[in-house]
Structure formats: C-alpha cells, structure tokens
Symmetry: C2
Subunit: 102 residues, 2 copies
Amino acid sequence: MDKKRELPADVIEIAKFAKALSHPVRVYILKKLAGMNTCCYSGNIVEELPIGRSTLSQHLKELKYAGLIQGEIEAPYIKYCLNRENWENLKKIFGDFINTEG
Amino acid sequence: MDKKRELPADVIEIAKFAKALSHPVRVYILKKLAGMNTCCYSGNIVEELPIGRSTLSQHLKELKYAGLIQGEIEAPYIKYCLNRENWENLKKIFGDFINTEG
DNA sequence: AATATATTTCGTATTTTTGCGAAATATAAA
DNA sequence: TTTATATTTCGCAAAAATACGAAATATATT
C-alpha cells in the first residue's frame, strides 16, 4: 500500500486543463476557435453571450494563462486564436486520460 | 452575427464534467478507479494523498454528485467504484470536444 | 490634437471551493 | 451492550472564482 505522497505530475496537469474548461464561457470560446479554423474578436464573442465585456476579458485572460489561446493586436481589435501547440497537448493529455484502462 | 443567447447545452455539459476534474485529488481518484478494474476504499485513498479524511470525503461527494462514482456499503467500509455508464458518457463528451474541427 | 472605438485593468461584492478538526453515524467485533 | 473502526457531516475559516461598472489604455480616424 502506497504511503502518503504528493500528487503525480500528470494528474496535476489534467486538473489544470480541466480547470481551464470548467466554465461554460471558456468551453464556448475554445470550441468556437477549434471549430472555425480561424480567429475571432472579443467584441464578436461578447455579443453572442450573456456576460459583460470585462467578464469576458477575464475568461480570455485565464485561457491565455492556461496557454490555450493567444491574442494578437490588430488595432483597434485584438484577434484571438487557438494556441495550436497547447491545444494538441490538451488533446493528448485528455485522450490518454479517457483511455485509462486496467 | 449571432445575437446574445444562453450557452448551448453541450457546452454546459462539458464544463460540468471538466469542473468535476478540476481538482487533482478528484482526477487521481478517477484515474485510479478507471485504471484498476476494481473498486477502492476511502481509507486506502487517504493514505496515499496529502489530505485529511473529511476533505477526501468532500471530493468523493462531488464525484458522486457528478455521477462519476458510486459508493456501496461494505461495513465498516464503503467501497467506491466508477460509474461505468457515466464514465463512458464523459469519454464520449470529451472525445467529441477534443475532436472539434472546422 | 481631439475624438471615437475596442479592450483591459481596477476596485469591489458575492458566491463557491477547499480544507480542517470535532462530533455524529453506522456497524462489526468483543 | 460496550468498544473499536471507517466514514461522513457539521461548523468554520481562508482562498479562489465569478461578475459588474467605471476608469484606464491603446490606437485609428478626423
């Protein structure tokens, strides 16, 4: 029987990505960006959702922090795109997790 | 351009499952249960992790609430097992999500 | 330089999550 | 029936997440 220990790194990584996906607004944004093979603007997203601009901004910030999206200035807009590299990483991590087998 | 609307049901469902996975202790438990093709006891889990018994109990409660595990009394223990049906559901939901394409 | 537009940051309030120890519960064993 | 064991629930405190409007920032246009 294993003794008390820290949680394994892969488990922590799964939880970190899951946390980024734990709010429907963030899932919506990621799904949109992964679905369109293009990018989008904060202003367009906020028109589709029942939240304010500053709230959206916070969700975008969290997705940036998780490395899942990136913003590029295209003044006066900011164009948000999926971070393909980390998105692939998330796919791998989650793919492995849901295929956990005995 | 779409007008402000509620978030789609599938997006909400993804976020709900992601929330259940947003804490490493809960990921650890699910991974363990999905990996072993068997069940386990609260007492065995708590010995492996750096958290107290009542804290673990709360995490188990959340996983139960999310429908991902179920407990069966096997006095004086409680045997926790994966809820295979909902686990399959999570696999499908997440599988579809990570395969979101343009 | 002044104005208009898009977005973020700040300050704040509310709610939710996380964690713990003590007490309660339930049941097996003596 | 008493005692011991496993787990949960309760009560609480601290931290994090969520949301908003007002103000700040940055930059294009006039």
